[in-house]
């Protein structure tokens, strides 16, 4: 049994050095010295930029950004792909167009992606005529049951960093005990639509009770924060008070970086945005917008396009975490298993929530997407919602779809900072406990939609 070795090595503090990739160009005599000086000084100037500036080598929390990715590592066409005039690649267009409904043409042209406001054109009435019915063989609904080990350990492990002469915290793990979770099956047809399943509590005025960081987060409620991609804010962040683990990605080997870049590039291609920031007809995001148009109720969250694609930084951080956690697993396999490189969130009012999941899931399957996992999380006391992962019609890309009510989405936003902080290995145990208490307090105010507790989970057998 290995001994406890907490926190091996401290993270390096950001060090100022020039950026890789600054290259001197051949220049005429008159400009040679200037160019050289310019190149030499560029790195220094970048170092002086405010943290968080797009060109700064540091995140806004003071951590150094992962190594720069050379353009040549992007846009690598896969076998069977063609390079498009715009520099992107198109994947097997014949197959893609065959299985996806083609609303005649969204023809959005080159619209500003970042400031996208949904203005979808109505789907053509006859889009089905161009739609070859995908293979909608019913998925295997057999749940993946994990074995339940019912043998609590009794021996005390060897440890060298924690005091042993005091009373251990008598807390049980949160209501969601890992081994006790019974996976259920996803059977939309069998779902009962109960009238009342929740016991909504009035949202308390809890601002005074929030951690300072979370009060700040509250002020940014209009900026959605996805699970691991923080809201974009214009104001500079305060100076960091600790070293987060954002430097995880820097531990990736060059080969692992290439794996991450390539996997992320495939996500980007699947998502559908061109290098110019516009969308055409193909890709997941245009498809999600078409599905949204077809829904009786509900909608995608605001600024869906902005957050649909996980940033490369975050993708690399996640891969680094998985490599740490699964040391013997092929990093390529881990990268391909990241299910939220592309992600979407539908919002339904509580009254339509369960039906909304059923309807939007059916639409996703009609579009040829394959449900991999459905996980209702309304019984958790630290998160409320339903998460799912899907495989795109090419079979290569996983993407995530979440379903929320306005209240559960709001809770997710409010607890986002706490979630990120808990996830950091540098956060003290006491702080983690406090943040988890805060998450529970926020989530306790979220009404459970009628029937949500009866949504059955599903996990596709591999």
């Amino acid at each position: 049994m290995p001994g406890l070795q907490d926190e091996r090595g401290q993270r390096e503090l950001p060090q100022a050095h020039s950026q890789d990739g600054v290259r001197q160009a051949d220049s005429p005599d008159t400009g040679d010295r200037q160019v050289r000086e310019s190149a030499d000084g560029l790195g220094r100037r970048l170092e002086r930029l405010p943290h968080g500036h797009p060109s700064s080598p540091y995140h806004d929390d003071g951590t150094r950004k992962p190594p720069l990715v050379r353009l040549k590592n992007l846009e690598l066409p896969l076998p069977g792909e063609e390079r498009e005039p715009n520099g992107g690649t198109s994947r097997d267009l014949v197959v893609s167009r065959a299985v996806r409904p083609r609303a005649d043409d969204h023809a959005r042209g080159v619209e500003a992606y970042a400031e996208h406001e949904t203005d979808p054109e109505p789907a053509a009435q006859d889009w089905q005529s161009a739609f070859r019915e995908p293979d909608l063989a019913p998925p295997d609904r057999t749940p993946e049951r994990s074995e339940h080990a019912d043998r609590p350990p009794t021996d005390r492990p060897s440890r060298d960093s924690e005091p042993a002469d005091s009373e251990p915290a008598g807390r049980e793990p949160a209501g969601r005990q890992p081994a006790g979770r019974e996976p259920a099956t996803w059977e939309p047809a069998d779902r009962e639509h109960e009238t009342v399943a929740g016991d909504p509590e009035p949202a308390a005025d809890r601002a005074a009770d929030l951690p300072a960081a979370d009060r700040a987060a509250d002020l940014d409620d209009d900026e959605p924060a996805t699970q691991d991609q923080p809201a974009i804010i214009d104001e500079p962040a305060p100076a960091p008070v600790e070293q987060p683990q954002a430097k995880q990605a820097e531990r990736l080997t060059p080969e692992q970086v290439r794996i991450a870049v390539r996997a992320h590039g495939q996500c980007r291609l699947a998502e559908g945005r061109s290098v110019f920031g516009s969308y055409g007809e193909s890709g997941l995001t245009p498809a999600m917008r078409r599905i949204e148009e077809q829904l009786d109720h509900g909608e995608l969250v605001a600024k869906t396009e902005r957050y649909a694609l996980k940033s490369l930084d975050r993708f690399q951080e996640k891969l680094a975490k998985l490599i740490d956690r699964f040391p013997g697993t092929d990093p390529q396999d881990l990268a391909e298993g990241i299910h939220d490189g592309v992600r979407y969130t539908f919002i339904f009012d509580a009254a339509e929530y369960v039906d909304g999941i059923t309807e939007s899931s059916a639409r996703l399957e009609e579009y040829g997407y394959d449900l991999v996992e459905m996980k209702p999380i309304w019984d958790s006391d630290e998160y409320k919602g339903t998460n799912s992962s899907w495989r795109d019609s090419s079979g290569r890309i996983l993407f995530e779809v979440q379903w929320h009510t306005p209240e559960s989405w709001d809770a997710k936003q409010k607890t986002h900072d706490a979630y990120e902080k808990i996830d950091r290995t540098t956060t003290s145990i006491e702080e983690v406990e406090r943040l988890r208490d805060y998450q529970r307090a926020v989530c306790a105010t979220v009404p459970v939609p009628p029937g949500a507790l009866d949504i059955r989970g599903y996990k596709k057998e591999r």
């Binding site: 924690e162 915290a169 949160a174 998160y383 998460n387």
Partner: protein, 86 residues
């Protein structure tokens, strides 16, 4: 006073418990819950896998509670496997 420790096999989708890809443990300390996972050098380091599973938001892996003896066997298997991998 002894602190309680629980062990969890981290099972990626499609795997069986005996083929677990990772191992996590939770130590109940006076300060709170200390979550760790085994690393390639067979040391324990902080890891949020248990928290992520309890929160429920993450997909793609499951935790299965195992005994300390099972955890030791799993570590031994990791030692052999990872040594072979180099």
């Amino acid at each position: 006073m002894a602190e309680e420790t629980r062990y969890y096999a981290i099972v990626r989708d499609g795997q069986k418990t005996e083929d677990a890809s990772g191992l996590a443990r939770r130590i109940y300390t006076p300060q709170g819950r200390l979550d760790q996972a085994i690393r390639r050098d067979l040391t324990w380091e902080r890891d949020s896998a248990i928290y992520e599973w309890e929160r429920g938001e993450e997909l793609g892996f499951s935790l299965v509670e195992i005994s300390e003896a099972e955890a030791e066997r799993l570590i031994e298997r990791f030692r052999e496997k990872w040594t072979e991998q180099g």
